[in-house]
């Protein structure tokens, strides 16, 4: 357009351009630096763990072969019956049928039921422990900073020790079997739920507590009638979520000998019984998905979620 000022002559425009360029430069340097650090760390870690491309490359065919056997797509040397439509629904003795593949379904079913029961019991014990310990861990309900601090650190320790490690250790005194697993998961659950519960307690409305205090209610009465009715729905919601997590944990805690389907899974993987590996894995996936869906449904239907507690 004629008569228009050339923007390059405008001092404000030039200043803007300068600032923009400098900000852009510093941003770009920062990004490049971050990338360099990320890649450097990657290289250092690779060297540290012998994660060399040639080793991984050499392993990939083996992985392919292994998963091929698991999925029974190698009919020649595989012990697994390839599923065939014509035999699919025939009996246990007929290769290439589903029944043949899952021929030990009764054993698996028992172990899966044991796994779920382990999750139920450990969640219940953890709920009890977390419930009791969450109140002394709540700043708003207690005058003594000391007790709050000690309880909180205690809960932290309970939930930071990996539960598989705990189970491995407990197998020594309690023997191989589900007891060690239940105790380990229950201890972890106590720590995890205690912390979440105390956060719910902190958000509870203190007017109810003050009301009970003003008519002479004891500390226990204040908790029982002032706090618990407010927080219980949230507690139950968290406990159900925890139950889902504990079902997953119960399936693997058997790897160290602490009961459940994991013990069997470890055995069949170690002995390379391919068809049983894939059968158990499929069952675990099914059960985990079923429990997740069921628990989500229960939470949606029966439990209102105060304080924005969501999945």
């Amino acid at each position: 357009m004629t008569g228009a000022v050339d923007p390059a002559d405008d001092p404000a425009y030039r200043l803007f351009q300068q600032r923009f360029a400098s900000v852009r430069r510093s941003r770009q340097t920062e990004t490049l630096l971050t990338f360099a650090i990320v890649i450097l760390l990657f290289v250092v870690c690779s060297v540290w763990t012998d994660f060399a491309p040639e080793q991984v490359g050499a392993g990939i065919p083996r992985i392919g072969e292994y998963f091929g056997k698991l999925l029974s797509i190698e009919p020649d040397n595989s012990p697994i019956p390839v599923l065939a439509w014509s035999h699919l629904f025939q009996g246990v003795k007929q290769p290439q049928s589903i029944a043949y593949w899952f021929y030990r379904i009764d054993v698996y079913a028992d172990l899966l039921w044991q796994t779920i029961q382990m999750a139920i019991l450990s969640t219940a014990i953890g709920f009890g422990g977390g419930f009791v310990l969450s109140f002394p861990a709540t700043r708003t309900l207690l005058k003594s900073r000391m007790i709050v601090f000690v309880t909180r650190r205690g809960l932290e320790i309970l939930r930071t020790i990996p539960q598989v490690v705990l189970a491995f250790i407990l197998v020594w005194p309690f023997g191989i079997g589900p007891l060690a697993g239940v105790v380990a998961i229950a201890i972890h659950t106590t720590g995890a739920l205690g912390k979440l519960f105390s956060e719910l307690n902190e958000n509870a409305d203190l007017r109810a507590v003050e009301g009970i205090k003003s008519v002479g209610g004891s500390w226990l009465a204040q908790i029982r009638y002032g706090v618990v009715p407010q927080v219980l729905p949230g507690f139950l919601s968290y406990a159900l979520l925890r139950f889902e997590i504990n079902v997953r944990s119960s399936t693997i805690i058997g790897f160290v000998g602490a009961g459940g389907i994991g013990q069997e899974l470890k055995r069949v993987i170690s002995f390379n019984i391919y068809e049983e590996v894939s059968a158990i894995v499929i069952l675990i996936l099914l059960i985990v998905v079923a429990i997740d869906l069921g628990s989500a449904e229960i939470r949606k239907r029966f439990i209102s979620t105060p304080f924005g507690v969501t999945a």
């Binding site: 990320v38 760390l41 990657f42 250092v44 870690c45 690779s46 540290w48 763990t49 012998d50 994660f51 080793q55 991984v56 392993g59 083996r62 992985i63 072969e65 292994y66 998963f67 698991l70 029961q117 382990m118 139920i120 019991l121 219940a124 320790i157 930071t160 020790i161 990996p162 598989v164 490690v165 491995f168 250790i169 407990l170 020594w172 005194p173 309690f174 023997g175 079997g177 589900p178 007891l179 239940v182 105790v183 008519v215 997953r248 399936t251 693997i252 790897f255 160290v256 009961g259 899974l265 470890k266 993987i269 170690s270 390379n272 590996v277 894995v281 675990i284 996936l285 985990v288 998905v289």
Partner: protein, 284 residues
């Protein structure tokens, strides 16, 4: 105030009158609720019996034996500290490598799985179930499988983290992409940008901070997880731990657990600092 009562006049008759006035507030739960609670309690006691909870008390002396041995660190100087620390660093390295490899795969997968990038219901269903399948198996199961396929050592652990993490991150990333603000995309589109330019200038600036923050969080959580992968032979500190549990070297077991707790705390704090800094940079 209507019907107010003064505390000094609160005698038995007044209490009875109030109870009669508000029956719902004083109702004692009802018999059905108590029966339900009793049934639940009974079931739990049955489970305790089933799992042999009596052993907790009969085997308590054995627990005390372990605890006593755990706090006795007289052999501290003779332990192989170099190997323990090396394994601890190896664990963290495994978590980092596994997560970063997963990021490389999960970013494209995340875009493919996002409803607003590929608006096909069937495609989205398939990709989401694929992510669920990878995620649904615990890392420990993957580790056990990879140990069988690749042999003992950290590579099996890295691959286990990589596979399970790909599912998790792809799901998180595609959810982040699905929740972006459409206005920026429309703005860029209105000045004639193509598909790539839309991703680069409208989508990426919105999702990148979320992705980085989630990646940091996953490195943190995988460092925790990686400590146990060694229990099935997949490298790292877990391998040392399981060796020492098997030879009943409880003092060193306690030391290793403390080492794990310490490392996890350090990583937590570094990652929290980085994430806060990141959010700060984004906000300014």
């Amino acid at each position: 105030m209507s019907g107010s009562i003064r505390l000094s006049t609160l005698d038995a008759a007044a209490v009875a009158a109030e109870r009669a006035r508000h029956p719902d507030a004083f109702r004692a739960g009802g018999r059905a609720r108590w029966l339900l609670l009793a049934a639940i309690l009974g079931y739990l006691i049955y489970l305790m019996w089933l799992f042999d909870f009596g052993r907790i008390f009969t085997d308590l002396p054995r627990v005390w034996v372990i605890v006593r041995l755990m706090v006795d660190w007289t052999g501290f100087a003779s332990w192989d500290h170099a190997a323990l620390w090396r394994s601890m660093l190896e664990t963290v390295a495994m978590a980092y490598l596994g997560t970063m490899l997963a990021v490389i795969v999960a970013v494209p997968l995340g875009f493919l799985g996002a409803r607003n990038v590929i608006p096909s219901v069937v495609f989205r269903f398939v990709t989401r179930r694929l992510f669920d399948g990878l995620r649904g198996l615990d890392q420990l199961v993957w580790a056990l499988v990879f140990v069988r396929a690749m042999g003992l050592g950290p590579i099996a652990g890295i691959l286990a983290i990589f596979v399970a993490e790909t599912g998790t991150l792809a799901k998180l990333f595609s959810e982040a992409i699905e929740t972006i603000d459409r206005k920026q995309v429309e703005g860029i589109t209105s000045v004639g940008a193509g598909f790539v330019a839309r991703l680069r200038f409208a989508v990426l600036p919105q999702v990148l901070p979320v992705m980085i923050s989630q990646t940091l969080y996953q490195i943190e959580s995988n460092s925790r997880e990686a400590t146990i992968l060694g229990l099935v032979g997949a490298g790292g500190i877990g391998l040392r731990l399981s060796e020492r549990i098997q030879i009943n070297a409880w003092d060193q077991v306690a030391y290793i657990i403390l080492l794990i707790l310490l490392s996890v705390a350090v990583i937590d704090n570094v990652s929290r600092y980085l994430r806060l800094r990141l959010i700060g940079v984004v906000a300014s």
